[in-house]
Amino acid sequence: MTQSHRLRRSLLYVPGNMPSMLQNIPVFQCDVCVIDLEDAVPRSEKDAARLLSRRFIEGYTQRNKEIYVRINGLDTPYFRDDLAQILPALPDGVRLPKCETPSDLRRLDDLLTEFEEYLGCEIGRFKIIASVESAQAILNVNEIARASERLVALGFSVEDFTANLQIDRPKTGEHLVVPRQLLLMACRAAGIQAIDTVWADTLDQEGYRRECEHIKVLGFDGKSLINPRQIDILHEVLAPKPEEVDYALQVVDAIKGAREQGTGVVSLGGKMVDAPVVARAVRVLLAAKSLGLVDTDIDESVIYGDMAS
């Protein structure tokens, strides 16, 4: 349903019209790459970018990360061609910019269903990550977060948001605590992941690190990135603490133990272990593995055998 066990700490935007960047996607160590057909591509090159991205994705068969494509907004004349060209290449999903209302999301959901039928794919195969970029969108965020089963995460995009609010974009972030928390609460309530905005000043790595620490405190699952140099710092800051890793290992043990005993209910320390706890434990262990903190491979089929949700 929500794929909440997938690690989506780092979502790197890659311009859709640049072969030199696209072909390095397999090399980048981020969790997700978002191929951008929107802001990174001028109008006159939208057709070129679609085809280039499509051919690249088609050739990228041994995937080591998720691939999303940021289509143009539903208020532009481009999004339909974006979907028609890109979806046959079978990316993991679509990143929707400027999602204002839940009906935007439902509209995209319906379109994706049409394409899945046309392509003969499993319905629900294409996922959505939507970006919330305006004051109104933040106020609608609770409904947006529940508007589609394809939605795996909501992203917060600050550039347009601060323009919308008619404020400066502060590097310290205190003006943005409320919208960030609203987004986060909506995501948690809906059981999806919360992704923070890009940090645009690639030369200010100190300020970037501070923002990563800030959003970790707030509880964000990941962050959108515009430069591969930003990946390592983010992963380091979001690294699970040793206590979290230990707990996650205990959760996995508890599940294995319950399976061996044939019981459907898993408990740990007197508390029931439910799906969100499992999802979190999986993410913690994936993150720990990626940072070399644990050796164990996470056998998802063992974990999800009876707990599919």
């Binding site: 072969p19 030199s20 072909q23 085809l51 499509r54």
Partner: protein, 85 residues
Amino acid sequence: MRINKKAQAGTMQSSDLMVFIEPADDLVIEVESTVQKQFGHLIEARIKQVLKRLAVERCRIAVSDRGALDYAIDARVETALRRAS
């Protein structure tokens, strides 16, 4: 596909190629590449593949290549042909 007008696609950046299409009475393919000696044969083969797939039998196509991989050659040639049709 019929080629009706001039068109181009791509950029001069490293790992990319520029494709120039013109209407013509027959099929003329010109390739200039930074890796001509090592990959000229593969580049030309790829271009011909795209022309065949799109059923283009007559045009003048000039390619200026900066070490693009096959998927990019594919995409840029097709984009240029579509823009020219």
